[in-house]
Symmetry: C2
Subunit: 200 residues, 2 copies
């Protein structure tokens, strides 16, 4: 009607982000989000199947970008190297969206219901990455392992970078990559040995 031609969906997302930042997720009702966007509560639920989803639209864009890079990754790379090739390739996209991702991440971290939904999104993305690896000849179970392992590293790198931008995202990814490989070789000491590590 007269609230400007900007898409209702986008208005709902912005209203939600603002209200969640102001009062917190639980103290914000779907009706309030809808009202600020100039529509009714029912319209909110037609755009988003539940209240949480309003914060998770960006995942599709990211996945689409990752898909393109995985499909064009060089031949002969190992499964996890394919994934990290794509992760590094989407760094500019993530950097460009940091001003939205950062406050969003804080809201999610403060809200168990949203943290739970984010895990679901990560699992879905891990599964999508696995299917792309299968297109490159990786068999089912190893592909799923690669998807989940890669996503764990990707999520750790991006989360750490959102928390503390002093270390660049590409460097965070490198750290995660090196850290993953070391999980097979770096020895750990038994818990008992910890009591006198320098003494023995």
């Amino acid at each position: 009607m007269a609230l400007g031609d900007k898409d209702v969906r986008v208005r709902l997302q912005q209203s939600a982000l603002n209200l969640f930042a102001e009062r917190g997720y639980e103290r914000t009702t779907a009706a309030e989000i809808a009202a600020r966007a100039g529509v009714t509560e029912r319209t909110f639920f037609r755009h988003f199947p539940d209240k949480r989803e309003v914060l998770f639209d960006g995942a599709a864009v990211l996945l689409s970008a990752l898909t393109g890079f995985i499909e064009t990754a060089p031949d002969g790379l190992a499964p996890l190297d394919v994934l990290f090739f794509a992760f590094n390739a989407v760094v500019p996209l993530l950097e460009a969206n940091r001003h939205i991702s950062h406050p969003r991440q804080e809201i999610i971290a403060a809200t168990p219901a949203l943290a739970e939904r984010e895990l679901t999104k990560h699992a879905a993305m891990a599964h999508a990455l696995a299917k792309l690896l299968q297109l490159r000849g990786v068999s089912h179970l190893p592909a799923e392992l690669a998807g989940h392992t890669g996503m764990a590293a990707f999520a750790q790198a991006t989360t750490a970078w959102l928390d503390d931008p002093a270390i660049a995202l590409s460097e965070r990814l490198d750290l995660a990559y090196v850290g993953l490989k070391a999980l097979w070789s770096a020895p750990t000491r038994a818990a008992d040995a910890q009591t006198s590590p320098e003494a023995g």
Copy 2:
């Protein structure tokens, strides 16, 4: 009070498992679960903070067992080898509970809300494993990577074994272990190359 001395909590869990199997999770109300267990709806929510939690009590027992084995794992093992040492050690426990885990897994797989909660439980367990590795001297970020990578492999092995017990759980764990290591070395072909793999 005459419904037998079996703990109300356990009766609620059994009622829930049965009702979910009969009608599905969404078509079962908390009041119905409570009624079958001989208590009121209010009592249900006193035992479980939300309806989903009634299916996720076993995680604590499993984690407790894993904790013991990680603490007593041999000195000098790499992070992921510590975790797989513990995973293999709890195989008998899992095998003993298969008659409960199997129907439970089917209900969870059929119910998105429950699958989401299970991811949360897995993430919590990954985090717990990470903290145990930190007690063995592994630093924070690598420990978290190991926790999530290990949990992904553990979950894949147990899920596959619940679906198809023809392959033993210990063998499923071995397959996951080997599969993980190969993610760094086994080459993949580019998607384009797939169209004529034998022709070139």
